[in-house]
């Protein structure tokens, strides 16, 4: 299993590198890989669809008990087959579609990356692994939308899709971490088997975060706006990611966790409301679009809303309907996108106002399109009819507020019928268009083959309903957590749902006839509104930029002194906060050396140091400052002598002298004028400085509250003679015990010397 997923990741870069040399070979290689994965997954079908489960576990960090685990059950197998099967079909389509495109190699690389990530997403058992793949699909989607990277529109759309779905991604991570805390497991399988009711203290937060993740990924209102914009991607991408697979990841997440959270009131209501609104909104927006792909995108949003709403209804019947409709939708929407791509490819436009009467020119494309539209409109004997009937049935049988769902499914279904006529009839019948940039001609090979295959598939599944029933039964059981069987059939007898279907078709026909009038009514839908979600996104992004700019100007303003000021202030605050919090005031001081008159000489260096410091503080002459600095330095050296550190003192005297000499040599080349500070800066800096000094004093006084029993002191003093052959312990430490440190020190000095040399001999001035 790991091989199957990794193989696509491995093939991806090679495709990128070698595609251009042999586009045909590498293109078909990707198709074959997807098909091979499909077949491989299909071999598990008998076992898994009977109710079995297959686990694949690979040790990753066994010490930390982290394993890469994939698991196949009815639901993940169905999604896996969907991803790989559609992958093969759409890659095949893309070999023709991308033939003349620039950077087609990149396209195939990204597609493979996406396919592998999506497979990982649906098969992952570990939640964090699932999250990882979830984000990878977002990233590959970003790359694919931004494929035409020279167009600002494509770049903008790609970024938008990435940002919106990543907000959901972060929410997903948070939700998974909370799940891990609450149930003490990250395994999907273990989570599904948990008998504990979902009543923990984090449950509400988890549900809200999961909804956010699913809604952003599956383009639910009000996060839908990225999907129509994502149509900037090449059409195979729209067909694959933005209708059949990636946008269904959110639905997959909902399905997967429905048994755990299905009873939560926020979950059901959230799904029901968002689903209903999205469904109607998407369908209505689709009515007013003129771009074929945007129209399809809004229809996709609407269909996703239908699945979400059905999941929210939560009855056994509704969940079955949701999964069945997912398959229905994948078939017809995949086909329609590919038809749109084919038409775009052959005529050079996707504008619905220019396209009509393509029957003679593109008969084979028409066949695929009409079949798909039949399924979309929910006409018998297409598979779409079966799905639509199930949706109606479950909405009719539902309790409480299911009338809301019934109403919205009816409304959107009417729109589907009307748009089915627009796309499936008006596009091809009537007088042949003469306004297209290229005269329409029939496309070749996969361009009509792939949609025709899917369209015919939609018809086949509608007639041979045993096949989808067999495929989906285990999946629906897993979603609803019951053992109910799934029965699909075209003919249910004379039921209310059938009547509703009939009414839908009639109303859809009416809407189609009166489409010019309805366009006028719906003109408001195309307006620009400041409170529209996309507008809010744009405004939000602009505000975020402004805040970032303001914050950068504040913190990273280029004034070096400000950085220092921030660092010192923060240090003071951090230390003082600790001292106050733990009440670390100096107490029980253990001073060893009393302040007595006997040692009056110790006061001499102290006196000179303080004098020097005061002088430095106030002085404005370079020379005075230099001398005062030396006073401080020699004072420190004298203190070392008095307090038993003759070696340190000697070094200090030497170093002080060298620094003095060098400073003196360069002094006349340094600026003579000493600038004054403004009053506010002076006060601010002095305040920070005093606080810092006081903090350091406080730390020192504090340290004297503790007995310092260093075992190292004892060790060095007793071993110095035997092992280091020396009596001066400080020296022995430097050249023997810690000789490597000294070596490092010498290196530092060497590097500094080189640096100084470079500076001195560097002649930048022309």
């Amino acid at each position: 299993m790991l091989t199957a997923i990794l193989s696509a990741y491995v093939l991806a870069p090679f495709t990128g590198m070698f595609y251009r040399k042999h586009p045909r070979i590498w293109g078909y290689l990707t198709v074959m890989l997807a098909a091979a994965i499909f077949l491989y997954l299909a071999t598990f079908a008998p076992r898994v669809l009977e109710g079995g489960e297959v686990r694949f576990s690979y040790a990753w960090v066994p010490q930390l008990d982290i394993h890469v685990t994939f698991f196949l059950d009815g639901l993940s197998l169905f999604f896996g087959l969907l991803v790989s099967g559609f992958g093969a079909l759409i890659l095949w389509y893309a070999t023709a579609y991308m033939e003349e495109a620039h950077y087609a190699n990149r396209f195939f690389t990204y597609m493979l990356l996406f396919m592998a990530s999506m497979l990982g997403l649906v098969l992952a058992d570990h939640l964090i692994l699932l999250y990882l793949f979830w984000e990878l699909t977002s990233i590959s989607s970003f790359l694919l939308i931004g494929y035409a990277n020279r167009e600002a529109e494509a770049r903008r759309s790609a970024l938008q899709a990435l940002l919106v779905t990543n907000v959901g991604g972060l929410a997903l991570l948070a939700a998974f971490l909370l799940i891990g805390q609450q149930w003490d497991t990250f395994s999907v399988e273990a989570l599904l088997q948990t008998t504990e009711a979902a009543g923990g203290k984090h449950t509400l937060a988890i549900v809200l975060l999961l909804l956010l993740a699913a809604f952003t990924k599956s383009a639910q209102f009000p996060f839908h706006f990225w999907l129509p914009n994502a149509m900037a991607a090449p059409t195979p991408v729209s067909a694959y990611l933005h209708s059949a697979t990636m946008v269904k990841a959110g639905i997959f997440l909902l399905f997967r966790l429905q048994p755990v959270f299905g009873d939560h009131v926020v979950w059901t209501w959230g799904l029901l409301l968002a689903g209903s609104i999205t469904m109607v909104f998407g369908a209505v927006m689709a009515l007013v679009q003129t771009d074929l792909k945007r129209m399809l995108a809004y229809l996709t949003i609407s269909a996703l809303g239908m699945m979400v709403g059905m999941t929210g209804l939560g009855t056994e019947e509704a969940l079955q309907a949701a999964l069945v409709y997912l398959l229905v939708h994948a078939f017809y929407k995949g086909a329609l996108f590919m038809v749109a791509g084919g038409i775009d490819h052959q005529t050079g436009t996707r504008d619905m106002r220019l396209l009509h009467g393509l029957k003679q020119a593109m008969p084979l494309t028409m066949a695929g399109c009409v079949l798909a539209c039949g399924s979309m409109a929910g006409l018998p004997p297409f598979f779409g009819f079966v799905g639509k009937e199930m949706v109606y049935e479950s909405a009719l049988h539902g309790q409480g507020f299911s009338w809301l769902l019934l109403g919205s499914t009816f409304l959107s279904s009417v729109c589907y019928v009307s748009l089915g006529l627009v796309i499936g009839y008006r596009l091809f019948f009537g007088t042949l268009t003469r306004q297209t940039p290229k005269p329409p001609t029939e496309s070749h090979g996969p361009l009509w083959g792939a949609p025709l295959l899917l369209g015919a598939g939609g018809l086949l599944l509608g007639v041979w309903t045993e096949a989808p029933a067999y495929l989906l039964e285990r999946g629906t059981q897993l979603i609803s957590g019951t053992e109910a069987g799934l029965e699909l059939s075209l003919w249910h007898g004379l039921t209310p749902a059938l009547g509703l279907s009939l009414l839908t078709v009639l109303a859809g026909w009416g809407l189609y006839r009166g489409r010019d009038k309805s366009r006028k009514w719906l003109a408001f839908a195309t307006g620009d509104y400041t409170l529209a979600p996309e507008q809010l996104y744009v405004t939000g992004l602009r505000r975020l930029r402004q805040v970032a700019l303001w914050q950068t100007r504040l913190l990273q303003n280029g004034y070096l002194r400000n950085y220092l000021l921030v660092i010192f202030s923060f240090l003071v605050l951090a230390v003082l906060a600790q001292i106050i919090h733990f009440r670390l005031w100096p107490q029980a001081l253990r001073f060893q050396l009393p302040v007595t008159v006997d040692y009056l000489y110790e006061w001499i260096p102290v006196f000179f140091m303080v004098l020097g410091l005061i002088t430095i503080f106030g002085a404005r002459s370079r020379l005075t400052i230099l001398i005062a600095t030396s006073m401080v330095g020699f004072g420190v050296a004298a203190l070392f002598v008095f307090f038993s550190a003759p070696d340190v003192s000697m070094t200090q005297f030497l170093v002080e002298t060298i620094t003095l000499v060098i400073f003196m040599l360069i002094l006349h080349r340094l600026p003579s004028h000493i600038r004054l500070e403004s009053k506010t800066k002076f006060v601010r800096h002095l305040l920070v400085a005093i606080l810092f000094g006081a903090t350091m004093t406080l730390i020192l006084l504090n340290l004297h509250g503790y007995e310092l029993a260093s075992p190292l002191k004892e060790y060095y003093l007793s071993h110095s003679e035997e092992e280091g052959k020396g009596l001066n312990v400080v020296n022995v430490i430097l050249i023997d015990f810690r000789a490597l440190d000294t070596l490092g020190e010498i290196t530092v000095l060497g590097v500094t010397a080189i640096g100084i040399m470079t500076l001195v001999f560097l002649n930048q001035k022309k």
Partner: protein
């Protein structure tokens, strides 16, 4: 005596931080130097100080407990030498900056670009 020295160390820190924040080159250089002194003294005092008991091992073997701790001293010795490298480098560097950028104000050093000729 430690209490006096602790206060003096605090004063060293105060002045050096003030100088480091100064816009004038010379004051900033001196700030770097004084800061090194302050840190060294800080380490020295934190490691407990003793009078007239350097860490020399004598013939008498009078017991080592009374001797001063050699370890902080070794640290400080290293620090002093490294500090010297840093100080001299700073002096030379600022000299070069003054020469190249023709400024004596740290606040004008905001960009990597040279001033217009």
């Amino acid at each position: 005596m430690e209490i006096i020295l602790s206060v003096v160390t605090g004063l060293l820190f105060t002045i050096s931080v003030y100088l480091l924040l100064h816009r004038s080159f010379i004051k900033m250089i001196v700030g770097v130097i004084v800061f090194a002194h302050a840190i060294n003294l800080f380490l020295f005092i934190a490691g407990k100080i003793t009078r007239s008991m350097p860490a020399f091992i004598t013939e008498e073997e009078a017991g080592t407990a009374a001797l001063s701790d050699p370890l902080p001293q070794a640290f400080i010795l290293t620090a002093i030498v490294i500090g010297m490298g840093v100080q001299i480098f700073t002096i030379v560097l600022l000299n070069k900056v003054h020469f190249t950028a023709e400024t004596d104000d740290l606040d004008t050093l905001k960009t990597t670009d040279l001033p217009e000729a």
